[in-house]
Amino acid sequence: MNLPLPVATGDFVIETDALTLRFRNKLALDRLTLNVARGGIHAVVGANGAGKSSLFRVLLGFQAATGGTARVLGCDSERLTPALRSRIGFVNEEHALPPWMRVDELTALQRRQYGAWSEERYDAVLRNFHVLPAQRIAELSRGERAGVNLALALAQGPELLILDEPTLGLDVVAKRVFLTALMDSSYADGTTILYCSHQMDEIERVADQLILLERGQLLHAGAPDDFCARMCLWIADGELRTGDLANLPGVLQIEHLDGFTHVVVVDQGEQFEVRLRALGAHTIEHMSIGLDRAVNAMLARNHAGSAVPPPVLQPA
C-alpha cells in the first residue's frame, strides 16, 4: 500500500474537515471543520457534552472518527507515528498518574521515553509547585499532581500540547502557577496549546483564540475580543414582548428587569435600534459586553426554557 507522506499544509497544527463522531444514539462531533494555527493558546469552550473531550480524543488518535478527517501536525490522526506522537503532549483531566510511584521514579521513566526531554524545562516548571523528588504521587495534592503532570508534558518540548480541563479543581494558588507555566511555554518556546475550560475569567486572561463548540458543531473560532465585538446588549424601556423579540435577527437572550427589556444580540449593528423602536420602545441604550456575558448569551440561547430559537450563525 502506498501511504502519502505527511505534509503540513499552511501553518496549521490541526486541520479537521467535516469531522464527525457518532456514538450509538449521540452525535458527539457533527461535521466539525476547524483549523488551529501554529502558536498561541487556543481555548475550547462549550457546554458539557458539546464535544470538547471527543475532539481531543480523536485528535490524539485515541478514538477513530466515524466521518470526515482530522490532521494533526500534517498527519491523519488515525495514523500518527511514534515520532509524531512524541511531538504532541497530552495532559489528562484528572491528572491521573500512577499513585504508587515516587516523583523521581516517574521522572526517570519518562526521561527515557522522550528524545527531546529537557531537564531544564522540567525543573523550571516543577520548581513552582514545590514538589519533592522523593514524594509518592499518592501523597501529592491535586495541584501538585497537576504540576508534575505539566512538567512531564512540557519537558518533552512538545510542538502541540493538548490539555483536557487542566485547571478543574485546582486551588487559586496552584491554578495561577499552572497557567503562568502554560503561558510561558507558549510565549517562550512557541508551543501551540489547545485546552478546554469552563472558566471565562481564566480564558479572558489566557487565550489568544477562542473555539466555541455546541452540540459537536463550531459556533465561533477567533480572538476572544473579536467574539465580544460581535455582541451588543440593548436596553429598552417597557416590557417588549418576548415573542416579538425572538423573531428579530441575531437575538440571543431576552431578560425583563425592573420594567426594562435587556436583549443580547449578535452581528446586528446600530440599525437594531430601529427594530426595537418598531416594537414600541422609546428610550433605547446599548453597550458592549465582556467575554463571560457574551459566551453565556450564545450558549444559553437554546437551553430549555429559553424562548429564543437558535439563530443561523456563520462560523467566523
Partner: protein
C-alpha cells in the same frame, strides 16, 4: 551598570470588563503616564514580568506595548526595553476633543450631586490643575 532601572507598574486589570485586557493595559499605562506616576524616561516592566504580575498571556502584554509604542507613548531602545517617551502631540485633535468630552461628562456626573456652587467647583479645579502644571525652572 548601565542597565536602566525599570519602574514597577501599579496596574490592575479586571476580567468581566467589556474592555479587552490589552485595552485595559493600554488605558492603564496612559493614565499612569498622564498622572506623572510613570515619569518620562522610566523603564517599563518586561513583557513576561508584567504578564506574570497581572496573570495574563504575554502575547496580550506584547500587543498592548506595541500599541503604546505606535501611538508614541513609549520608546523602544534596542536591547534595553521600553521607556516612557518624551511627550509630544500623542493624539489627534478629534481624539483629544472626544476624550476631554468623555472625562468632563464623567466628572460632572460625579460632582453634580454634591451640591457645591459652581464658582467653588471652578476654583477647586483650577487649584488641582495648578498642582499638575510643570514647574518653572529657576
Amino acid at each position: 551598570m548601565n542597565q536602566p532601572r525599570r519602574s514597577p507598574l501599579l496596574l490592575q486589570i479586571a476580567t468581566g470588563d467589556p474592555r479587552p485586557i490589552n485595552r485595559q493595559i493600554v488605558d492603564g499605562v496612559k493614565r499612569l503616564i498622564a498622572s506623572g506616576d510613570l515619569a518620562v524616561g522610566a523603564g517599563l516592566p518586561s513583557v513576561r514580568g508584567l504578564a506574570a504580575q497581572l496573570a495574563v498571556n504575554p502575547n496580550t502584554v506584547a500587543k498592548a506595548y506595541t500599541e503604546l509604542t505606535t501611538e508614541g507613548w513609549l520608546d523602544a531602545r534596542a536591547g534595553l526595553g521600553l521607556f516612557v517617551a518624551t511627550p509630544r502631540q500623542r493624539l489627534s485633535d478629534a481624539e483629544r476633543e472626544r476624550r476631554l468630552n468623555d472625562a468632563l461628562v464623567r466628572f460632572v456626573g460625579d460632582i453634580i450631586a454634591l451640591d457645591y456652587p459652581a464658582d467653588v467647583l471652578l476654583d477647586r479645579v483650577a487649584a488641582e490643575l495648578a498642582l499638575c502644571a510643570p514647574k518653572q525652572p529657576g
